[in-house]
Each structure stands twice: as structure tokens, then as C-alpha cells.
């Protein structure tokens, strides 16, 4: 075979390879959306008949709607907490090189490397021992353990690109550190903070293993409820719920992209 035709075969195989992978990756997402519009009782793909029946049942179901509220509440809680902890921690690490700031990043990262089952069980034992009975708080804590490292590392890269001379200039011109942070640092890292908060929210929304361990009778997040419903039967309701979860993620990604582009746009105008 000539070199050219060998190369074009290589190219074709290469391209076929990653598009095939792409299709396989998107397949479950497609399944979710398509089957959410299914008519029948038992989930099949592709469905034989389509309808909005299950969407209707979702909006009529108290159980599901209450799960949505629980998920949103916990998501906001975890997002706020993780963002505050991640931003302050990242700032501290940037500014000083003490023992504490050197030992903290690996500790923050550790929860991401442990199986979520282990974290779930550890926290279950813990909250039981110290008497923390609010499932809301418990799940917020668990999700914060996971979301904080993400916020931390996003902010690390944001702060690394920040010109710290600006802070020196602010203080030199008479601003106390907190005022300088508000007037000089924050406006420049705002988009990083927003993106971190969005990521934290979505991570909390989607997490289910730790939420499974820490749930109570009254407090169940959407993924947990979906999971437990799967144990009884596989109905399109799961797909409806999942479709909303995936949509939430897509919206999150778009919001993050918009925030980044917004800044760029604002500069152009």
C-alpha cells in the first residue's frame, strides 16, 4: 500500500474510533431523554408509543416534588458552604507558605479519592455518634466535602492568573486588606467564583451514594429517590427525573460558559 493510502486508512480508523466512542458516550443520555416520553409502564428502548404521561405524573407527585425541593435546598447549601471554604482556603494558600497551608491541599483533595461508600458510612457513624440528626445538614456536609476541592482548585488557577501587584497597590493607596479584597480582588475573580459555585451546586445535585447513606424518611434527594425506585421497577418515571437532572447539568455548563464569555464580551463593548 502506498504511504498516502495507508495514512488515509489510519485516519479513517482513527476518526471512526473516536466518533464511535462519542456515540457510545452519548447513548445513555439519549436513552434517558427518549424514554422519558414513553407511553408504556415498563421502560424499553426504543419505546413503542410516546406521550407526556410520565411528565404529568411527575408534576403531580408530592413525593417527587418534595425530593426536588430537598435536592435544591441541599444543593444551595453545599454550594454556598463549599464556595466560601474553597475561596478562603485558596486565598490563604496563595498568600502564605506556612505548615498549615502546605498540608491542607492534600487533605482537601482526599475525599475525592475515597470511594463515596466509605465516606458515606464514615459520616453516618459520625453523625450518629455526635447526635447530628438533621439529614439536610448531614448531606450538605457530605456534599461539601466533595465540592470544596473542586472550588479550591478552580480558584487556585484563577488566583494564579491574578496580578497580585493590584492588591499591593490597593493597600498602598490606603485600603485595609478587607476593603482591598472587596474593591480590587473580588471584581477580578468574580467569574471564577460564580463558576465554582455552579459546579458545586451541580455536583451536589447529582451525588447519590453519600446521600443514600445519610438520608432520612423525610429527606431524600432526587437521585436517591430515583435509585430506590429502581429497586422496585424500571418505569419511565426514572427517565423523566433523570432528564431533569441532565438538563440541570447542561444548564450549568451553559451558565458557566456564559459567565466566562460575558466578561470577554463586556471587554469588547
Amino acid at each position: 500500500m502506498s504511504r498516502v493510502s495507508r495514512e488515509s486508512v489510519e485516519d479513517a480508523l482513527f476518526r471512526a474510533g473516536y466518533w464511535l466512542l462519542f456515540a457510545v458516550i452519548m447513548l445513555p443520555i439519549v436513552v434517558v431523554f427518549v424514554t422519558s416520553f414513553q407511553q408504556g409502564e415498563y421502560l424499553t428502548f426504543p419505546p413503542s408509543e410516546y406521550s407526556l404521561r410520565w411528565y404529568g405524573e411527575f408534576f403531580a407527585s408530592e413525593e417527587w416534588l418534595s425530593a426536588v425541593v430537598d435536592s435544591a435546598t441541599i444543593g444551595i447549601g453545599a454550594s454556598v458552604l463549599a464556595t466560601v471554604l474553597g475561596v478562603t482556603g485558596s486565598l490563604a494558600v496563595q498568600r502564605s507558605d506556612s505548615v498549615l497551608t502546605r498540608v491542607l491541599p492534600p487533605i482537601i483533595l482526599l475525599p475525592l479519592l475515597l470511594p463515596p461508600v466509605v465516606i458515606g458510612l464514615t459520616l453516618l457513624i459520625y453523625v450518629n455518634r455526635i447526635g447530628l440528626t438533621s439529614a439536610y445538614l448531614n448531606i450538605v456536609v457530605a456534599h461539601t466535602l466533595w465540592a470544596t476541592p473542586l472550588v479550591f482548585f478552580v480558584m487556585q488557577s484563577v488566583f494564579a492568573r491574578f496580578d497580585w501587584d493590584l492588591r499591593d497597590a490597593g493597600m498602598d493607596l490606603g485600603g485595609r486588606p478587607s476593603r482591598v479584597f472587596y474593591h480590587v480582588v473580588l471584581p477580578n475573580v468574580r467569574s471564577g467564583v460564580v463558576i465554582s459555585a455552579v459546579i458545586a451546586f451541580i455536583v451536589s445535585l447529582q451525588e447519590f451514594i453519600m446521600a443514600l447513606f445519610l438520608k432520612s424518611y423525610y429527606v431524600k434527594t432526587v437521585p436517591v429517590l430515583a435509585w430506590t425506585s429502581l429497586e422496585s421497577s424500571l418505569t419511565p418515571m426514572v427517565s423523566v427525573v433523570s432528564a431533569f437532572l441532565v438538563l440541570a447539568s447542561i444548564v450549568g455548563v451553559l451558565v458557566a460558559a456564559a459567565v466566562m464569555n460575558m466578561e470577554w464580551l463586556a471587554k469588547q463593548l
Binding site: T44, S96, L100, I125
Partner: protein, 299 residues
């Protein structure tokens, strides 16, 4: 005189940057201490308690929990299977991730965005979706079987799921995006000129990939391997949804011990043993990789 300068020095330290940083890092440090470090210590303490008939545990100081885990043949099987799943899923996921990362690295424009989007989206999607959605695809009456029978490769349905195949597919699907992220972030810092130089010196395209790209990507591959392995050994969602009774992992047993059988000391002991095992293997993996990064290459 000496004390005066000592106070001056102290005053200086207090006024300096460092105090601000300590106050800044205090909330995070306190949080991690209270909700990660201490719970862990309590976990260790729990593993030394006694199992109880009426309730999750009974206070005590015994190694019974560890003994029951280490002695049980069932648990040996679980551990073995968990590690086996870990190895299989990790190997497949990392190899595929290497390929996909490379493709994303080489792509430009819209195609690149599309490929990266296809990684980011699953990253932000719940495990529930990533596992259950495979059931209608891999079930005996599912899409894959329909296709295979339709094109005549098989005559009767194969049970891809529930079963080992389904479990592996689900687990690979779960860890794949993380592996791609790890490898891609290292690849994106690579200098393409080095690959072109290799080709210029006579290496074929696949060869230049092996000789130049892979070694450069090694740190990312190492991270991808450790992360995928940790998650796959501790797999819960995929084997639950897509596995038959034979695909039971340690994580599933933990859930059973904690929430159904209410044997918390055993759960704690089992977790700690597994964590220990995973740590050892992860360190070995890292040693293996960093060894080949730092060592003398064969010429």
C-alpha cells in the same frame, strides 16, 4: 533590651500577612478537621467495637470485627471480585481514555468543543443515570441483542446485563470521563513540535504516538489509573444495577452491613481493610509509573 526586641518581633509577626492568612484558612481547616479527620478517627474506633444483636453496635474494644471479615470466605470472594473489577475496568477505561484524550487534543474548533463537551456532561451527571440507562440497552430483550440478532451474529439473546459484561460497561462508563480529564490536562501542555520532530526523524504516526506522546502523558495516565482504580474497587452503582448476584462488590456489602444488617463494627473494619489494600496498590501503581518516568529509558 532583649525582651524589648522580642516584643517588637512578636508585634511585627502579628501585624504581618501571616495572621490574615491563618484567619482566612481557619474555617476550611476547622471544617476538614471536624467533618473529615475526626469522623475518620471515629471510624477506626468503631471498627474496634462489638457487633450487637439489638442495634448497630455495642461499645467495646475488640478485634472481633476484623477477625470476622478476614476469616469469612464470602468476604474473600467479595474482595477478590472488587479488585478484579477494579483491574478490568481501569485497564479498559485508561486505554480508551488515552485514545479519546489524544483525539480531543488533536481536534480543533467545533469538533474539539464537542468532544470535550461529551466528557464534561457525564462528569456532571448522576451515577443513577449512568447505570440504569444501560439496562434497556444491554438486557436480553435490549437494543444490543436486537442489533446482534438482526445482523445475524447471534441466534439467541445474550445476557449482557445483568451480568459481568454489563457491570464492566457501566463501571468503565462511570470512570472514563475522569480518566480523560486527567490525561487530557497533561496532554494539553505538550509541545506538538516534539511529535513532528519524531516523524521528521522517521517514526510512523502510530510509532510517534507510542514513543513521544505516551511518555509525555505518563503523569496523567498515572493519575487516571489511580483514580479509576480507587473508584472501581469501591464500585457500588454499576454492579448493583447491572450485575447479577455474582457481581457483588465490597461497597455493596458495606451498604448491606450499614443499612440493612446493622453491623457497624464489621462495616468499619471492612472499609478500613479495603482502604489499606487500595492504598498499597495505589502506591505501587504510582511507583510503577514514576519509575518509568524517572528511570533510564532503553535506547
Amino acid at each position: 533590651m532583649a525582651t524589648e526586641s522580642m516584643f517588637a518581633w512578636l508585634g511585627r509577626r502579628i501585624k504581618s500577612q501571616d495572621t490574615g492568612s491563618v484567619m482566612l484558612v481557619a474555617p476550611l481547616a476547622a471544617f476538614e478537621l471536624l467533618f473529615f479527620v475526626v469522623p475518620f478517627l471515629i471510624l477506626v474506633r468503631m471498627s474496634l467495637n462489638e457487633s450487637a444483636q439489638a442495634g448497630p453496635y455495642e461499645s467495646g474494644l475488640t478485634l472481633d470485627a476484623y477477625r470476622s471479615v478476614l476469616d469469612s470466605g464470602l468476604y474473600h470472594d467479595l474482595v477478590f471480585f472488587s479488585f478484579k473489577l477494579g483491574v478490568i475496568a481501569t485497564t479498559i477505561a485508561v486505554l480508551l481514555a488515552l485514545f479519546y484524550s489524544y483525539a480531543a487534543y488533536r481536534a480543533t474548533g467545533f469538533r474539539k468543543s464537542l468532544l470535550l463537551f461529551s466528557i464534561i456532561l457525564p462528569l456532571l451527571t448522576t451515577l443513577v443515570v449512568k447505570t440504569y440507562a444501560w439496562r434497556p440497552l444491554l438486557a436480553p430483550n435490549g437494543v444490543l441483542n436486537d442489533v446482534l440478532m438482526g445482523i445475524g451474529l447471534t441466534s439467541s439473546p445474550i445476557q449482557f446485563a445483568p451480568g459481568m459484561f454489563g457491570t464492566v460497561v457501566g463501571q468503565v462508563y462511570i470512570v472514563f470521563p475522569y480518566a480523560v480529564l486527567a490525561i487530557y490536562s497533561v496532554l494539553s501542555t505538550m509541545d506538538w513540535d516534539t511529535v513532528e520532530a519524531a516523524r521528521d526523524l522517521g517514526a510512523s504516526r502510530p510509532r510517534s504516538f507510542l514513543e513521544v506522546v505516551v511518555p509525555e502523558a505518563l503523569p496523567g495516565i498515572a493519575v487516571a489509573t489511580v483514580v479509576s482504580f480507587a473508584w472501581s474497587v469501591g464500585a457500588y452503582a454499576a454492579p448493583s444495577q447491572l450485575g447479577s448476584g455474582q457481581q457483588t462488590t465490597f461497597a455493596m456489602e458495606i451498604e448491606n452491613l450499614m443499612l440493612t444488617a446493622f453491623d457497624w463494627p464489621a462495616g468499619a473494619a471492612f472499609s478500613l481493610l479495603m482502604l489499606g489494600g487500595m492504598l498499597v496498590v495505589s502506591l505501587a501503581i504510582m511507583r510503577l509509573f514514576t519509575g518509568s518516568i524517572g528511570g533510564v529509558q532503553d535506547v
